[in-house]
């Protein structure tokens, strides 16, 4: 079991209600409501973008308009997103500072209340803090800069280092991958662009924090992480938003590139309030003997659709998705993984655990693709669902296409329920209903959480405790 002293607990503590606050809006840059070519131009102009990026955006906008909503397989709730009622760019005209002292007061206070500066001091190698559309703060330890590590936002990455980023930008996830990746490609702003040079092993995690402050707003960060030969990095993202009356949209695109022998670990602990549509496309490209590992913890949101993937392009590449999804009353977590084997002796592992509370619904969608001409590929898929109440709901849609017989695959799925008698037993020992449910849920995800870096396992446990305490009347 991971244990932490109280200072660490304090430092990583983020709870749902702590996130539930917002500051008055005073944006100097506001693209207004609705989406058209003008909106996209507005964003390009503010950022002073190169022509190729402008074209990339405008093309993406057309693709977005031309693609239907994927409601033939996904939740009908997508139809409730009114694209004309959303604002696509909101910023205070700030450029990200390298010192918290220079961050505007209300923004700084926001991140202080979320404990970000403190975490940075305690255990992070670099932090980027995004407030609505743009990063307000971005800093990376000097020692890393000296080694050539780049950690900037998307605007800066594309403007200052096109020779590094342009090559892979939009290549792992093409614009037309799905309607929401097209949307992101048209209006993206913020996010992290990271480059780690060959052989550099970044010891402490880099962290980004995404904060939505404004109502009727869409956050579209764009992240591209390139880790060169033999290099390693752990990246962590956290997200919160206040509880607004109306729907808010978060639609990110995250591309990872791990060159030969490189390792990337990407950890998400998302804690959205329950009016956020969270529609995110995440995919990594692993070259020879490289490893990409997604650890994806989805708590909160109204509807999350997210299926992190790894394309194993080089021999002996490895891909892993560890996913934990908790859907509370009225929420739908539609999550899973995509593993595309494209070279011999590639290995993938998927472990997905979902918890449904009350009327919460969890869906697992998995795709494992191993073509006939390859040799010695392995996949292991495990998906377990836990239902807390009788009216909770879970579905599994695994699609495993394995051609040829020179591969090894394993698939296990289970659905279990926290029985009334189990809760009765725990309450008889003096635990409240909330405590009994928290303990059961933590027990269910325990074997996965043990694999997380300690700070994040503590944070996740706290989030689960808050959720479960809050779910009993």
């Amino acid at each position: 079991m991971a244990t932490a002293d109280s200072a660490t607990l304090e430092a990583v503590h983020i709870d749902r209600d702590e996130g539930n606050f917002s500051y008055p809006e005073d944006y100097t840059h506001d693209a207004g409501y609705g989406l058209n070519e003008g909106t996209v131009d507005y964003i390009s102009n503010i950022k002073g973008e190169a022509d190729w990026i402008r074209e990339f955006r405008q093309k993406a906008l057309k693709v977005f308009f031309s693609k239907p909503m994927p409601t033939h397989w996904a939740s009908k709730d997508l139809e409730n997103i009114i694209f004309d009622d959303i604002r696509y760019y909101l910023a205070k005209g700030q450029t990200p500072t390298r010192s918290w002292d220079e961050v505007p007061d209300d923004v700084k206070e926001t991140f202080e209340r979320l404990g970000i500066p403190e975490k940075e001091r305690k255990f992070l190698a670099g932090v980027e803090a995004q407030f609505d559309s743009e990063a307000a703060y971005s800093n990376v330890k000097e020692s890393l800069t000296k080694e050539g590590v780049i950690f900037v936002n998307s605007t800066e990455g594309l403007r200052e280092h096109p020779e590094i980023f342009r090559k892979w930008f939009g290549k792992v996830i093409p614009t037309g991958d799905n309607k929401f990746s097209a949307l992101n490609s048209a209006v993206f702003s913020g996010g992290s662009f990271i480059y780690v040079p060959p052989g550099v092993k970044v010891k402490h995690p880099l962290q980004a924090y995404f904060r939505i402050n404004a109502e009727n707003f869409g956050q579209f960060e764009r992240t591209l992480i390139i880790v060169d030969e033999g290099a390693e990095v752990t990246y962590m993202e956290g997200c919160t938003a206040p509880k607004f009356e109306t729907a808010t949209l978060h639609s990110a695109v995250v591309e990872l590139v791990a060159m030969k022998d490189a390792k990337i670990q990407y950890i998400t602990v998302q804690n959205w309030s329950n009016n956020v549509y969270n529609l995110v496309t995440k995919r990594g490209l692993a070259h020879e003997n490289a490893e990409i590992r997604w650890i994806d913890c989805n708590i909160g949101s109204r509807l999350t659709m997210k299926y992190p993937g790894v394309i194993m392009k080089g021999r002996k590449a490895r891909g892993e998705v560890i996913s934990i999804a908790l859907s509370n009353h009225g929420q739908h977590q539609d999550t899973g993984a995509k593993m595309i084997h494209a070279a011999d002796e590639t290995t993938s592992n998927i472990v997905a655990k979902s918890i449904s509370v009350g009327t919460g619904k969890s869906t697992y969608r998995g795709l494992v693709h191993i073509p006939r001409h390859l040799k010695g590929c392995k996949n292991n898929t495990e998906c377990d669902a836990l239902l807390i109440n009788k009216d909770s709901n879970t579905d599994t849609y695994p699609a495993i296409t394995v051609r040829g017989n020179q591969h090894s695959t394993q698939h296990e799925a289970s659905v279990s329920q926290v029985s009334e008698d189990q809760i009765f037993y725990m309450k008889q020992r003096g635990l409240s209903e909330g405590e009994a449910m928290s303990l059961s849920v933590n027990g269910f995800v325990n074997d996965l959480v043990r694999e997380f870096p300690m700070e994040y396992s503590v944070e996740l446990k706290r989030l689960i405790d808050m959720e479960m305490e809050g779910s009993v009347g």
């Binding site: 008889q428 003096g430 933590n442």
Partner: protein, 252 residues
């Protein structure tokens, strides 16, 4: 202030069937009472009604734990008020280690802001596990998961020893125990006997009562206590069965 677990005229139904039909029984602090009775007579029902299981509806009667009206409390409040039930069929809690579970139960008894002292907690738990002849590896295993019948029962007693209730009901803790385990568990219970604590031991076998010598033995039949006596009553029951009692009850 009264110092007893006092059950008075208790009526309870499950799914509309009346199982307890006016049960009256008082266990003063410092005493051990035993309940015997045929299968289906309502022994476990009594235990679960006292613990607050939601399947059972109390239609009449009271249960007082010292001066506390037990039936008005939530399940977990009853536990924290000092009521403990060692289950006939203990439940499994997948993924939650025995140590974490016990620690959470102890934590639930502390005022807000106070934390269990981990070092002292483990020391105490190991000591009590030694007394019960439980291997250390049980601390890391999920609560009752894959435990043998006897291991589960021992684990119930470990929990009782760690939570130190004022009144404990042991529902057939002896069934499933081998002879040595029976002796060890009985020694554990005997070590907890004190003027500050009362026990209600449900059993089918007089053998247990050789080790945990009761002050009073009751016979439960069809939802009521139909006979009470000293420990010799258990011997008599073992010899003659229950029929003679039920026959005694028939109107002449």
């Amino acid at each position: 202030m009264s110092q007893s677990l006092k059950i008075d005229n208790l009526h309870a139904t499950v799914d509309g069937n009346e199982i307890l039909k006016g049960l009256t029984l008082e266990i003063p602090k410092g005493q051990v009472h035993a309940i015997m009775g045929p299968n289906g007579s309502g022994k476990s029902t009594l235990a679960k009604v006292m613990a607050g299981h939601e399947d059972y509806v109390v239609t009449d009667g009271t249960v007082l734990l010292d001066d506390i009206n037990l039936l008005e409390l939530e399940i977990d409040e009853r536990s924290r008020a000092g009521f403990f039930l060692a289950f006939q069929y203990p439940h499994e809690i997948p993924g939650v280690s025995n140590a974490n579970f016990l620690r959470a139960a102890r934590q639930a008894r502390l005022p807000k802001g106070e934390e269990v002292d981990a070092v002292a907690f483990y020391k105490e738990m190991y000591l009590k596990m030694d007394e019960l002849g439980m291997d250390r590896k049980f601390t890391g295993r999920s609560v009752n998961e894959g435990f043998s019948g006897g291991e589960k029962k021992r684990n119930e007693i470990l929990q009782m020893m760690m939570l130190e209730p004022t009144y404990a009901v042991l529902d057939e803790t002896d069934s499933g125990l081998d002879i040595d385990a029976l002796r060890i568990v009985a020694a554990g219970v005997n070590a907890m006997r004190s003027p500050e604590r009362g026990f209600l031991v449900i059993t089918h076998y007089q053998r247990l009562l050789d080790y945990i010598v009761p002050d009073v033995v009751h016979v439960l039949h069809d939802g009521r206590i139909v006979k009470s006596g000293g420990k010799e009553l258990a011997l008599e029951l073992e010899e003659k069965g229950y029929d003679w009692i039920t026959e005694e009850l028939l109107p002449a």
